[in-house]
């Protein structure tokens, strides 16, 4: 079914003036909002403490998703990880092997539908965190391994149309993922996404983004939004009705 353009459109910018929706409340409670919950690992400090809050804020500002602006943290062996389907793990150094309970917690979380974003805050300049992550993924998902996501993966068009991943650093052209069935249950970026998102309490960006400057920061934020959108919509943008629009816009993108 090819949607007709002259229809009333909800999402196009042209419909900006049409509203007055009688929305009386914002949510059925804080617990129904999307939370970017951090993973706590012993001996691994959170390198960009404001990153998850900033990402939540950007997602709320740019999309219709309602987010928690004060996201929490939990260990992987804490049953509370199953109360929100999105976890975020960032680090800039190696960490000790996790306990079996933590590994099982990660495996169960992904198997029952959760999504994990792993962010190498070193931007690929150090190997300690990378080695620890690969060891953890190997233990949690022995039948799967981290593999680069193809350039046309839904992650790059779940909301914004993106050509490649970037973060605080430009980094490699790929992000990697662990497939569970036909969805990606874990995404691993070595671009220090959190470094590009982080702001201090006064709103000042905390890290310089290189080499692309503020445009690159904007693209890193868009990738963060896309990842959250992917966690919530999975392959929605692969649905047949979206294809002609996305193809047309891709063709026009330099």
């Amino acid at each position: 079914m090819a949607p007709r353009l002259p229809v009333v459109i909800a999402l196009s910018l042209a419909s900006a003036a049409v509203f007055g929706a009688p929305v009386g409340v914002l949510a059925l409670g804080e617990g129904t909002r999307v939370e970017v919950r951090g993973i706590v690992i012993d001996g691994l400090p959170e390198p960009r403490p404001s990153a998850r809050r900033r990402l939540a804020w950007e997602v709320r500002k740019r999309t219709s998703i309602e987010t928690r602006l004060r996201p929490g943290r939990a260990r992987l062996d804490d049953p509370s990880i199953f109360e929100t389907p999105l976890l975020y793990l960032a680090g800039d150094r190696a960490f000790e092997p996790l306990s079996e309970a933590e590994v099982v917690g990660l495996r169960r979380f992904v198997e029952f539908g959760g999504f994990v974003l792993v962010d190498d805050a070193s931007g690929g300049s150090a190997e300690g965190f990378d080695a620890s992550v690969r060891r953890l993924v190997g233990r949690a998902f022995p039948d799967e391994r981290l593999a680069p996501l193809p350039r046309d993966h839904t992650v790059f068009r779940s909301f914004f149309l993106l050509e490649r991943p970037v973060g605080r650093v430009r980094g490699g052209r790929d992000v990697e993922g662990v497939l569970r069935g036909n969805r990606v249950g874990l995404v691993y970026s070595r671009h220090d996404l959190g470094g590009a998102w982080a702001r201090d309490n006064l709103g000042t960006w905390q890290h310089t983004v290189t080499p692309g400057g503020e445009r690159q920061r904007e693209l890193a934020i868009r990738l963060g939004v896309n990842l959250v959108m992917y966690a919530l919509c999975l392959d929605y943008k692969d649905d047949q009705v979206h294809a002609p629009f996305i193809m047309r816009r891709r063709a026009g993108t330099p």
Binding site: P3, A10, G29, R62, F112
Partner: protein
């Protein structure tokens, strides 16, 4: 009396092959010995004789011949007359019908006096009668001719001990193609054939086979076998026509050899959902003896190959994500989903061509294609921002005409979605607060565990287990939900399946079902059912409750027959005129509680809803029902419905069937005298080829053979025979070595 019989334990084929092989071995031995030099003639003959004896003993040991001696007692018994009452007896092979011939014969027997003779009719089952009743007329109404079944029941059933012989009066047109071997326990069967003396002239639809379920607008097939029995001429080209109502769907030509059959497969594509009655016809020649079998009918339940579900979500959320993922994964669902990813208050900070967003095609979805969906799901979706007010009456109309609609909770649903006072609110089983109401009136925050309403614990949406107690326990183990939409009240007909516990024992509706017009409606006032998947799964290792709930919900909305409270089946889908319609099933009320030990009314209705017959029957302890009704006489589509007495028009359940003029019974009305002859001779009875030639009843032998004992002699079944065989082989081997042979 002694009856002796010789048998081979190994079977004749195997014995013959073995015998030939052994004879060959002896011949080869003879040739070898003849060509051998240096061995005396006497020794050659001795070796050959030894080989021959060994071969013979091998044959006897391997084939195990035995001699059976039976001591049989002949007892004078009663005589029973068994008369065919199936519709094939209506066929006229000459000037009069087979039924008339049978009636005249029984009348003749009765006139001559028949003391002690019992009489029975049979068709699909055995029924006691009297010769007087049969002499008065053979109605020939049964849809089946189960000869072997009737004979076996009569010969071995209750009261058969003193029965000596059965006089069977039939055309031999057995319906049961896989009829078991007849065992009459020594009772003789004398057969009087009807209709075997005049060749039958009949073009017929011998077989018709179509899938009982077909998919909308997808090609289905009906397989038709046509038979041509004609007085003159060779092969015939016969047109076969498929009809739906009075509309020709397709026509095919089939070349039928003289006196034979030919098959043709006709494709067709159902155009409407629901039950459809099709007919297949062939022309009726002027001399056709059975015009009724030139037309057959069949019933097809037309469904979609997949459930078409439209899911519209006001924003991405975890509930949306888990529900869409489940529906997308389900191979039985064709899902179209639209999520509002951005509202006008959101600032994307990107040019339109940098966004992967598409317009929301409201006009196409809600004006052009709404009717093509089986289920419409609004998940946390508010219509206001999308100028959809004009489409809301269409949604109401869609449900009223039989569509299914569910509204799933969230801050953009129900009252807070602005639906109060709209046409969509009309279809909901709950009344909504207005959007301007206070937040506490619209929603209630906080974590809670839903409770199942005990009255509805057997409803498929909430029956997590078969037993109510286990269901309650299973619900109590699920992860708690968070936040609910609130309602002002319930509408008439609303059923609250799940509730949120409140203060002082007060409960707020959480899962409510209802009907609007022909359609089904479901309200689910939360957006955290995903917790039954991830949270329950993560903590307990079992996430099946989420999928089970939504699978049942969507199927219930789409009226999956397997989820209906009452389920009925008829013993056949096609009957002949005035056939006996047997109905079995389980009966439950709209709350899925078995209607156990109660009187229910089973009514037979035609296509216009006119009642043609009814019976009141008692259900068993689990709501089981069995009933038999006299079938209609006219061909067409019919249904049986079950209702509670005094609640006519409010059917608990129904099942459809068709009535054909011919049906299976007349598909092959050819008489089978040869089969009757074999049957009679196999039991020691007498075969009479024509009813006119039948002697009086006292001329039929009514002595019954009873086996008193059996003596078996099997001389080669002992270990000694094997020992002798081994000894012979050793002696032969030793002599051959001694005399210079290998």
């Amino acid at each position: 009396m002694l009856a002796a019989r010789f048998e081979l334990g190994a079977g004749w084929v195997w014995a013959t092959l073995l015998g030939l092989a052994l004879v060959g071995a002896v011949v080869l031995t003879a040739r070898e010995l003849r060509q051998a030099s240096g061995i005396a003639r006497e020794r050659r003959l001795a070796l050959l004789a030894l080989r021959s004896v060994t071969a013979l003993l091998t044959f006897l040991v391997a084939t195990q011949p035995r001699w059976l001696e039976r001591r049989v007692e002949e007892i004078e018994g009663r005589l029973a007359v068994l008369v065919d009452d199936s519709r094939s007896l209506r066929v006229a092979d000459g000037e009069r019908s087979r039924a008339d011939a049978a009636r005249a014969l029984v009348e003749r027997w009765q006139e001559r006096g028949t003391p002690g003779v019992a009489a029975f009719r049979f068709g699909s089952e055995l029924r006691a009668a009297s010769l007087g009743e049969i002499a008065a007329g053979v109605p020939a109404r049964d849809d089946e001719t189960r000869i072997v079944h009737a004979l076996r029941e009569l010969a071995t059933g209750e009261g058969s001990e003193d029965l000596g012989a059965i006089v069977l009066v039939t055309d031999g047109a057995e319906s049961d193609r896989a009829a078991p071997v007849l065992e009459t326990a020594g009772v003789k069967v004398h057969a009087v054939a009807l209709g075997g003396d005049v060749p039958l002239v009949d073009d017929a639809i011998a077989e018709l086979e179509a899938d009982p379920v077909a998919f909308l607008r997808q090609e289905a097939e009906v397989r038709v076998v046509v038979r041509a029995l004609r007085a003159t001429g060779g092969a015939a080209q016969i047109p076969v026509t498929l009809w739906e109502g009075e509309q020709v769907v397709r026509e095919a030509l089939v070349d039928v050899p003289a006196g034979g059959e030919a098959e043709v497969t006709i494709p067709f594509s159902p155009r409407r959902l629901g039950r459809a009655v099709y007919r297949v016809t062939i022309p009726v020649p002027s001399d056709d003896a059975v015009p009724a079998n030139n037309e057959r009918a069949f019933l097809v339940r037309v469904t979609r190959d997949k459930l078409r579900v439209l899911l519209v979500a006001g924003r991405p959320s975890w509930d949306v994500r888990f529900l869409r993922a489940f529906l997308k994964r389900d191979p039985g669902t064709d899902l179209i989903s639209f999520f509002i990813l951005r509202t006008t208050s959101d600032l994307t900070l990107a040019a339109p061509d940098e966004l992967a967003l598409i317009p929301f095609p409201t006009d196409e979805l809600f004006r052009e294609h709404l009717g093509s969906f089986d289920v419409l799901l609004f998940q946390n979706f508010d219509y206001g921002p999308y100028q959809m007010a004009a489409y809301l009456p269409r949604i109401r109309e869609y449900v009223e005409r039989g569509g299914a609609f569910a509204m799933i909770g969230g801050e953009r649903s129900f009252g807070s979605g602005g639906y109060a006072g709209t046409p969509v609110a009309d279809v909901l089983p709950v009344s909504l607060p207005r959007a301007e109401a206070s937040e506490a009136t619209l929603v209630r925050e906080g974590s809670f565990r839903p409770v199942v309403e005990p009255e509805l614990v057997r409803h498929p949406l909430v029956a997590l287990r078969r037993e109510p107690a286990a269901s309650f326990a299973a619900w109590a183990r699920l992860a708690p939900l968070e936040g609910t939409n609130r309602f002002e009240g319930l509408r008439e007909g609303a059923r609250v399946l799940l509730a949120r516990p409140g203060r002082r024992g007060k409960r707020e509706p959480l899962l409510v079902t209802g009907r609007f017009g022909e359609g089904r409606v479901l309200c689910f006032a939360t957006d955290t059912s995903w917790r039954w998947g991830l949270t329950t799964g993560g903590l307990q290792g079992d996430a099946s409750a989420f999928e089970r709930f939504w699978d049942r919900a969507v199927r219930w909305l789409a009226r999956d027959p397997a989820l209906e409270p009452t389920r009925l089946t008829t013993d056949r889908e096609r009957y002949g005129p005035e056939g006996r319609v047997r109905v079995v099933g389980t009966v439950a009320d709209a709350r899925y509680r078995p209607i156990a030990g109660e009187a229910v009314r089973v009514r037979l209705l035609d296509a216009t809803g006119t009642e043609l017959g009814a019976r009141t029957v008692q259900t068993d302890r689990e709501g089981g029902l069995e009933a038999a009704l006299e079938g209609p006489a006219e061909p067409g589509a019919y249904r049986v419905v079950v209702e509670r007495p005094g609640e006519e028009g409010d059917a608990l359940g129904e099942e459809g069937f068709v009535v054909e003029l011919g049906g299976d019974e007349l598909a092959d009305p050819r008489p089978r005298p040869e089969r009757l002859r074999a049957l009679a001779e196999g039991t020691g009875g007498r075969f009479v080829a024509r009813a006119e030639d039948a002697p009086s009843l006292d001329a039929f032998d009514a002595t019954r053979s009873r086996v008193q004992g059996v003596r078996e002699r099997a001389p080669f079944a002992s270990p000694f025979a094997v020992g002798w065989l081994v000894a012979l082989l050793i002696v032969e081997w030793a002599l051959r070595r001694r005399w210079g042979r290998r």
